[in-house]
Protein backbone atom coordinates (compact mmCIF):
# COMPACT_ATOMS: atom_id res chain seq x y z
CA UNK A 1 0.00 0.00 0.00
CA UNK A 2 2.80 2.41 0.92
CA UNK A 3 4.51 1.91 -2.42
CA UNK A 4 1.23 2.42 -4.24
CA UNK A 5 0.61 5.70 -2.39
CA UNK A 6 4.16 6.94 -2.99
CA UNK A 7 3.81 6.17 -6.70
CA UNK A 8 0.39 7.85 -6.80
CA UNK A 9 1.63 11.00 -5.06
CA UNK A 10 4.76 11.37 -7.20
CA UNK A 11 2.81 10.81 -10.42
CA UNK A 12 0.05 13.22 -9.34
CA UNK A 13 2.53 15.93 -8.34
CA UNK A 14 4.46 15.56 -11.60
CA UNK A 15 1.33 15.77 -13.73
CA UNK A 16 -0.11 18.70 -11.79
CA UNK A 17 3.10 20.69 -11.94
CA UNK A 18 3.99 19.90 -15.54
CA UNK A 19 0.97 19.37 -17.76
CA UNK A 20 -2.38 19.71 -15.96
CA UNK A 21 -3.73 22.94 -14.53
CA UNK A 22 -5.92 21.11 -12.02
CA UNK A 23 -5.46 20.39 -8.28
CA UNK A 24 -4.92 16.62 -8.54
CA UNK A 25 -2.92 16.36 -5.32
CA UNK A 26 -5.49 18.15 -3.18
CA UNK A 27 -8.22 15.73 -4.23
CA UNK A 28 -5.92 12.76 -3.59
CA UNK A 29 -5.08 13.99 -0.09
CA UNK A 30 -8.65 14.87 0.90
CA UNK A 31 -10.03 11.51 -0.27
CA UNK A 32 -7.10 9.67 1.29
CA UNK A 33 -7.77 11.41 4.64
CA UNK A 34 -11.03 9.49 4.98
CA UNK A 35 -9.28 6.13 4.93
CA UNK A 36 -5.61 6.46 5.88
CA UNK A 37 -6.06 7.70 9.43
CA UNK A 38 -2.67 6.79 10.86
CA UNK A 39 -0.26 8.48 8.46
CA UNK A 40 -2.54 10.91 6.71
CA UNK A 41 -0.78 14.02 8.01
CA UNK A 42 2.59 12.72 6.96
CA UNK A 43 1.27 12.01 3.47
CA UNK A 44 -0.32 15.48 3.32
CA UNK A 45 2.92 17.16 4.38
CA UNK A 46 5.09 15.19 1.95
CA UNK A 47 2.69 15.67 -0.96
CA UNK A 48 2.51 19.42 -0.33
CA UNK A 49 6.27 19.71 0.02
CA UNK A 50 6.84 17.82 -3.24
CA UNK A 51 4.29 19.95 -5.06
CA UNK A 52 5.87 23.17 -3.74
CA UNK A 53 9.26 22.08 -5.05
CA UNK A 54 7.89 21.10 -8.45
CA UNK A 55 5.69 24.17 -8.99
CA UNK A 56 8.15 26.81 -7.69
CA UNK A 57 5.63 27.99 -5.11
CA UNK A 58 6.83 29.23 -1.74
CA UNK A 59 7.84 26.14 0.24
CA UNK A 60 5.30 25.15 2.88
CA UNK A 61 2.23 26.74 1.26
CA UNK A 62 0.76 23.54 -0.16
CA UNK A 63 1.75 21.53 2.92
CA UNK A 64 -0.17 23.98 5.11
CA UNK A 65 -3.26 23.78 2.93
CA UNK A 66 -3.17 19.98 2.65
CA UNK A 67 -2.58 19.54 6.38
CA UNK A 68 -5.44 21.89 7.25
CA UNK A 69 -7.77 20.08 4.80
CA UNK A 70 -6.93 16.64 6.18
CA UNK A 71 -7.14 17.86 9.80
CA UNK A 72 -10.76 18.88 9.20
CA UNK A 73 -11.56 15.40 7.84
CA UNK A 74 -9.93 13.68 10.83
CA UNK A 75 -11.45 16.12 13.36
CA UNK A 76 -14.98 15.71 11.96
CA UNK A 77 -14.66 11.98 11.30
CA UNK A 78 -18.23 11.35 12.48
CA UNK A 79 -19.64 13.55 9.74
CA UNK A 80 -17.12 12.86 6.99
CA UNK A 81 -16.79 9.08 7.37
CA UNK A 82 -16.97 6.75 4.31
CA UNK A 83 -20.66 6.00 4.89
CA UNK A 84 -21.66 9.62 4.37
CA UNK A 85 -20.77 9.95 0.74
CA UNK A 86 -22.62 13.21 0.00
CA UNK A 87 -21.00 15.03 2.92
CA UNK A 88 -17.60 13.88 1.71
CA UNK A 89 -18.33 15.07 -1.80
CA UNK A 90 -19.63 18.44 -0.57
CA UNK A 91 -16.54 18.94 1.58
CA UNK A 92 -14.26 17.96 -1.30
CA UNK A 93 -15.90 20.48 -3.63
CA UNK A 94 -15.68 23.29 -1.06
CA UNK A 95 -11.99 22.65 -0.49
CA UNK A 96 -11.41 22.29 -4.24
CA UNK A 97 -13.12 25.63 -4.94
CA UNK A 98 -11.08 27.41 -2.29
CA UNK A 99 -7.79 25.91 -3.45
CA UNK A 100 -8.53 26.45 -7.12
CA UNK A 101 -9.36 30.10 -6.54
CA UNK A 102 -6.30 30.78 -4.38
CA UNK A 103 -3.67 28.88 -6.34
CA UNK A 104 -5.03 28.73 -9.90
CA UNK A 105 -7.20 31.87 -10.02
CA UNK A 106 -9.90 29.91 -11.79
CA UNK A 107 -13.22 28.49 -10.73
CA UNK A 108 -15.32 27.05 -13.52
CA UNK A 109 -18.28 24.68 -13.70
CA UNK A 110 -16.36 22.10 -15.82
CA UNK A 111 -13.57 22.24 -13.24
CA UNK A 112 -15.96 21.60 -10.35
CA UNK A 113 -17.62 18.75 -12.26
CA UNK A 114 -14.22 17.22 -13.06
CA UNK A 115 -13.18 17.52 -9.41
CA UNK A 116 -16.40 15.79 -8.37
CA UNK A 117 -15.94 12.92 -10.81
CA UNK A 118 -12.25 12.50 -9.96
CA UNK A 119 -13.09 12.61 -6.24
CA UNK A 120 -15.76 9.92 -6.58
CA UNK A 121 -13.40 7.68 -8.55
CA UNK A 122 -10.71 8.08 -5.89
CA UNK A 123 -13.13 7.49 -3.01
CA UNK A 124 -14.22 4.21 -4.61
CA UNK A 125 -10.62 3.25 -5.39
CA UNK A 126 -9.34 3.97 -1.87
CA UNK A 127 -12.33 2.21 -0.29
CA UNK A 128 -11.54 -0.96 -2.25
CA UNK A 129 -7.80 -0.72 -1.64
CA UNK A 130 -8.07 -0.18 2.10
CA UNK A 131 -10.72 -2.90 2.43
CA UNK A 132 -8.36 -5.29 0.64
CA UNK A 133 -5.44 -4.19 2.83
CA UNK A 134 -7.44 -4.69 6.06
CA UNK A 135 -8.61 -8.12 4.89
CA UNK A 136 -5.02 -9.11 4.11
CA UNK A 137 -3.84 -7.96 7.55
CA UNK A 138 -6.62 -9.97 9.27
CA UNK A 139 -5.74 -13.09 7.28
CA UNK A 140 -2.08 -12.81 8.25
Amino acid sequence: MKFFLIFFIILGALLESTVISFPVMLIVIVTLSTYAEENVFLWAFLAGFLLDILTLRTLGVDSLFFLASSMVVVRYKKILHPGRFLYQLAYLLIVYSLYSFIFYRQLTVPGIVSAGIFGVVLLILFERLFAFENKRKLTV
Binding site: T18, F41, L56, L64, R105, Q106
Partner: protein
Protein backbone atom coordinates in the same frame (compact mmCIF):
# COMPACT_ATOMS: atom_id res chain seq x y z
CA UNK B 1 2.91 9.85 19.30
CA UNK B 2 -0.75 10.81 18.92
CA UNK B 3 -2.07 11.65 15.48
CA UNK B 4 -2.90 15.22 16.49
CA UNK B 5 0.52 15.84 17.99
CA UNK B 6 2.14 14.81 14.72
CA UNK B 7 -0.19 17.12 12.79
CA UNK B 8 0.80 20.11 14.95
CA UNK B 9 4.50 19.32 14.50
CA UNK B 10 4.06 19.12 10.72
CA UNK B 11 2.02 22.33 10.68
CA UNK B 12 4.82 24.05 12.58
CA UNK B 13 7.39 22.65 10.17
CA UNK B 14 5.36 23.89 7.19
CA UNK B 15 5.10 27.36 8.72
CA UNK B 16 8.85 27.38 9.38
CA UNK B 17 9.55 26.38 5.77
CA UNK B 18 7.16 29.08 4.55
CA UNK B 19 8.87 31.86 6.53
CA UNK B 20 12.39 30.72 5.69
CA UNK B 21 11.55 30.53 1.98
CA UNK B 22 9.79 33.90 2.04
CA UNK B 23 12.98 35.39 3.46
CA UNK B 24 15.00 33.64 0.72
CA UNK B 25 16.96 31.54 3.20
CA UNK B 26 16.33 28.26 1.39
CA UNK B 27 17.69 29.29 -2.01
CA UNK B 28 20.86 27.28 -1.46
CA UNK B 29 18.76 24.09 -1.36
CA UNK B 30 16.80 24.97 -4.48
CA UNK B 31 19.71 24.85 -6.90
CA UNK B 32 20.63 21.16 -6.43
CA UNK B 33 16.92 20.32 -6.31
CA UNK B 34 16.32 22.19 -9.58
CA UNK B 35 19.08 20.25 -11.32
CA UNK B 36 17.17 17.04 -10.55
CA UNK B 37 13.70 18.43 -11.23
CA UNK B 38 14.45 19.98 -14.65
CA UNK B 39 15.32 16.75 -16.57
CA UNK B 40 12.39 14.89 -14.98
CA UNK B 41 9.85 17.62 -15.80
CA UNK B 42 11.33 18.08 -19.25
CA UNK B 43 10.88 14.37 -19.99
CA UNK B 44 7.27 14.41 -18.72
CA UNK B 45 6.46 17.55 -20.74
CA UNK B 46 7.96 16.14 -23.96
CA UNK B 47 6.14 12.82 -23.51
CA UNK B 48 2.87 14.64 -22.88
CA UNK B 49 3.40 16.77 -26.01
CA UNK B 50 3.92 13.57 -28.04
CA UNK B 51 0.77 11.97 -26.63
CA UNK B 52 -1.21 15.17 -27.16
CA UNK B 53 0.09 15.44 -30.72
CA UNK B 54 -0.87 11.84 -31.52
CA UNK B 55 -4.33 12.43 -30.06
CA UNK B 56 -4.79 15.56 -32.15
CA UNK B 57 -3.99 13.69 -35.36
CA UNK B 58 -6.87 11.29 -34.64
CA UNK B 59 -9.34 14.00 -33.64
CA UNK B 60 -8.46 16.43 -36.39
CA UNK B 61 -8.17 13.92 -39.23
CA UNK B 62 -10.97 15.62 -41.21
CA UNK B 63 -9.15 18.94 -41.10
CA UNK B 64 -5.87 17.53 -42.35
CA UNK B 65 -6.93 17.63 -46.02
CA UNK B 66 -8.05 21.25 -45.68
CA UNK B 67 -4.76 22.07 -44.00
CA UNK B 68 -2.84 20.48 -46.86
CA UNK B 69 -4.76 22.60 -49.41
CA UNK B 70 -4.23 25.72 -47.36
CA UNK B 71 -0.55 24.88 -47.03
CA UNK B 72 0.04 24.82 -50.76
CA UNK B 73 -1.90 28.07 -51.12
CA UNK B 74 0.11 29.67 -48.32
CA UNK B 75 3.37 28.44 -49.81
CA UNK B 76 2.52 30.30 -53.01
CA UNK B 77 1.61 33.45 -51.07
CA UNK B 78 4.78 33.08 -49.05
CA UNK B 79 6.90 33.13 -52.18
CA UNK B 80 5.19 36.32 -53.34
CA UNK B 81 5.64 37.92 -49.92
CA UNK B 82 9.31 36.91 -49.82
CA UNK B 83 9.79 38.77 -53.08
CA UNK B 84 8.07 41.83 -51.63
CA UNK B 85 10.15 41.64 -48.44
CA UNK B 86 13.29 41.48 -50.55
CA UNK B 87 12.25 44.62 -52.41
CA UNK B 88 11.19 46.47 -49.26
CA UNK B 89 14.35 45.50 -47.35
CA UNK B 90 16.46 47.06 -50.04
CA UNK B 91 14.26 50.14 -50.05
CA UNK B 92 14.38 50.36 -46.25
CA UNK B 93 18.18 50.09 -46.17
CA UNK B 94 18.47 52.85 -48.71
CA UNK B 95 16.07 55.08 -46.73
CA UNK B 96 18.00 54.50 -43.49
CA UNK B 97 21.23 55.36 -45.16
CA UNK B 98 19.68 58.48 -46.62
CA UNK B 99 18.09 59.71 -43.40
CA UNK B 100 20.98 58.64 -41.20
CA UNK B 101 18.48 57.14 -38.78
CA UNK B 102 19.92 55.01 -35.97
CA UNK B 103 19.15 51.33 -35.97
CA UNK B 104 16.41 50.27 -33.59
CA UNK B 105 17.75 49.26 -30.15
CA UNK B 106 18.46 45.54 -30.04
CA UNK B 107 16.65 43.64 -27.37
CA UNK B 108 18.62 41.14 -25.28
CA UNK B 109 17.16 37.63 -25.18
CA UNK B 110 17.63 34.64 -22.92
CA UNK B 111 16.35 31.46 -24.60
CA UNK B 112 14.57 29.01 -22.30
CA UNK B 113 13.31 25.48 -22.91
CA UNK B 114 9.76 24.89 -21.72
CA UNK B 115 9.61 22.11 -19.12
CA UNK B 116 6.01 22.38 -17.96
CA UNK B 117 2.70 24.17 -18.19
CA UNK B 118 0.27 24.13 -15.34
CA UNK B 119 -1.09 27.49 -14.23
CA UNK B 120 2.23 29.02 -15.27
CA UNK B 121 4.59 28.12 -18.10
CA UNK B 122 7.86 26.87 -16.67
CA UNK B 123 11.28 27.21 -18.32
CA UNK B 124 14.68 25.78 -17.51
CA UNK B 125 16.51 29.09 -17.05
CA UNK B 126 16.73 31.07 -13.83
CA UNK B 127 18.71 33.58 -11.80
CA UNK B 128 22.00 31.98 -12.84
CA UNK B 129 21.21 32.74 -16.50
CA UNK B 130 20.31 36.35 -15.73
CA UNK B 131 16.55 35.97 -15.42
CA UNK B 132 14.80 38.27 -12.95
CA UNK B 133 11.23 38.69 -11.82
CA UNK B 134 8.87 40.72 -14.07
CA UNK B 135 10.83 40.21 -17.29
CA UNK B 136 8.80 40.01 -20.52
CA UNK B 137 8.75 36.70 -22.40
CA UNK B 138 8.28 36.44 -26.17
CA UNK B 139 8.34 34.00 -29.04
CA UNK B 140 9.34 35.99 -32.12
CA UNK B 141 7.14 39.06 -31.92
CA UNK B 142 4.41 37.20 -30.02
CA UNK B 143 3.88 38.14 -26.39
CA UNK B 144 4.03 35.05 -24.15
CA UNK B 145 3.97 36.53 -20.65
CA UNK B 146 6.02 37.77 -17.73
CA UNK B 147 8.30 35.97 -15.26
CA UNK B 148 6.75 35.64 -11.79
CA UNK B 149 8.79 33.13 -9.81
CA UNK B 150 12.52 32.74 -10.37
CA UNK B 151 14.74 30.12 -8.73
CA UNK B 152 18.46 29.63 -9.51
CA UNK B 153 17.77 27.31 -12.45
CA UNK B 154 14.02 27.61 -13.20
CA UNK B 155 11.44 30.34 -13.85
CA UNK B 156 7.64 30.46 -14.02
CA UNK B 157 5.93 32.63 -16.60
CA UNK B 158 2.47 34.05 -16.09
CA UNK B 159 0.45 33.86 -19.32
CA UNK B 160 -2.07 36.34 -20.82
CA UNK B 161 -4.83 33.82 -19.94
CA UNK B 162 -4.19 34.39 -16.22
CA UNK B 163 -6.46 36.88 -14.45
CA UNK B 164 -3.51 38.19 -12.41
CA UNK B 165 -1.80 39.60 -15.52
CA UNK B 166 -2.93 42.99 -16.85
CA UNK B 167 -1.30 44.26 -20.03
CA UNK B 168 -1.78 47.76 -21.49
CA UNK B 169 -2.67 47.06 -25.12
CA UNK B 170 -4.00 48.62 -28.32
CA UNK B 171 -5.58 47.35 -31.48
CA UNK B 172 -4.02 47.72 -34.93
CA UNK B 173 -6.32 50.79 -35.36
CA UNK B 174 -5.03 52.41 -32.19
CA UNK B 175 -7.90 51.69 -29.80
CA UNK B 176 -6.43 51.31 -26.32
CA UNK B 177 -7.50 49.02 -23.50
CA UNK B 178 -6.20 46.48 -21.02
CA UNK B 179 -5.70 42.80 -21.79
CA UNK B 180 -6.70 40.47 -18.96
CA UNK B 181 -7.07 36.71 -18.68
CA UNK B 182 -10.24 34.86 -17.84
CA UNK B 183 -10.54 31.45 -16.14
CA UNK B 184 -6.99 30.56 -17.18
CA UNK B 185 -8.20 29.73 -20.67
CA UNK B 186 -9.33 32.86 -22.54
CA UNK B 187 -8.08 36.41 -23.06
CA UNK B 188 -10.09 39.65 -23.05
CA UNK B 189 -9.42 43.20 -24.17
CA UNK B 190 -11.15 45.20 -21.44
CA UNK B 191 -11.46 48.86 -20.40
CA UNK B 192 -12.14 50.03 -23.94
CA UNK B 193 -14.14 53.26 -23.91
CA UNK B 194 -17.58 53.10 -25.52
CA UNK B 195 -16.61 55.86 -27.95
CA UNK B 196 -13.61 53.88 -29.23
CA UNK B 197 -14.14 51.50 -32.11
CA UNK B 198 -13.37 47.80 -32.15
CA UNK B 199 -13.35 45.57 -35.23
CA UNK B 200 -13.27 41.81 -35.63
CA UNK B 201 -9.92 40.32 -36.70
CA UNK B 202 -8.00 43.44 -35.63
CA UNK B 203 -4.68 42.53 -34.06
CA UNK B 204 -4.03 43.44 -30.43
CA UNK B 205 -0.49 44.46 -29.46
CA UNK B 206 1.29 45.84 -26.39
CA UNK B 207 1.40 49.65 -26.11
CA UNK B 208 4.84 49.75 -24.53
CA UNK B 209 3.48 50.86 -21.15
CA UNK B 210 3.68 48.80 -17.97
CA UNK B 211 7.28 47.75 -18.55
CA UNK B 212 6.51 45.69 -21.68
CA UNK B 213 8.20 46.29 -25.04
CA UNK B 214 5.85 47.90 -27.59
CA UNK B 215 4.11 46.18 -30.51
CA UNK B 216 4.29 42.60 -29.28
CA UNK B 217 1.39 40.60 -30.70
CA UNK B 218 -1.09 39.31 -28.10
CA UNK B 219 -3.78 38.03 -30.48
CA UNK B 220 -6.67 39.01 -32.72
CA UNK B 221 -10.21 40.06 -31.86
CA UNK B 222 -12.75 37.28 -32.36
CA UNK B 223 -15.80 38.64 -30.52
CA UNK B 224 -16.96 42.06 -29.35
CA UNK B 225 -19.38 42.60 -26.50
CA UNK B 226 -20.71 46.11 -25.96
CA UNK B 227 -23.24 47.01 -23.30
CA UNK B 228 -24.70 50.56 -23.36
CA UNK B 229 -25.01 50.63 -19.57
CA UNK B 230 -21.38 49.76 -18.92
CA UNK B 231 -18.75 52.51 -19.32
CA UNK B 232 -16.44 50.09 -21.10
CA UNK B 233 -16.72 47.46 -23.79
CA UNK B 234 -14.85 44.20 -24.12
CA UNK B 235 -13.50 41.98 -26.87
CA UNK B 236 -12.47 38.34 -26.80
CA UNK B 237 -8.95 37.76 -28.10
CA UNK B 238 -7.62 34.62 -29.73
CA UNK B 239 -3.90 34.15 -29.05
CA UNK B 240 -1.83 33.36 -32.18
CA UNK B 241 -0.47 30.14 -30.64
CA UNK B 242 -1.27 27.45 -28.12
CA UNK B 243 0.87 28.26 -25.07
CA UNK B 244 0.79 24.60 -24.05
CA UNK B 245 2.67 23.59 -27.21
CA UNK B 246 5.58 25.97 -26.79
CA UNK B 247 9.01 24.32 -26.76
CA UNK B 248 11.32 27.35 -26.54
CA UNK B 249 10.60 30.92 -25.48
CA UNK B 250 12.78 34.02 -25.14
CA UNK B 251 13.05 36.16 -22.04
CA UNK B 252 13.71 39.82 -22.79
CA UNK B 253 16.65 40.70 -20.57
CA UNK B 254 17.21 44.27 -21.73
CA UNK B 255 14.83 46.70 -23.39
Amino acid sequence: MSVYRLSYILLGLSLLLFFLDTLGMLNFVKEPVDSVVIPVKSAVYDTWALVKGAGNVVWEYKDIKNIADQRSKLAKENEELKRKVFDLTGENAAMRHQLGAPLPPTLGFIPGNVIGKSRYLEVSVGEKDGVKKDMTVVDGTIFIGKTVNVSPLRSSIILPTDSDLKIPAKTSRGTEGTVIGEFGSSVLLDKVLQKDQLFLNDQVVTTGAGGYPPNLLIGKITHISADDVSPYKQAAIEPPLDYGREQTVFIVSSL
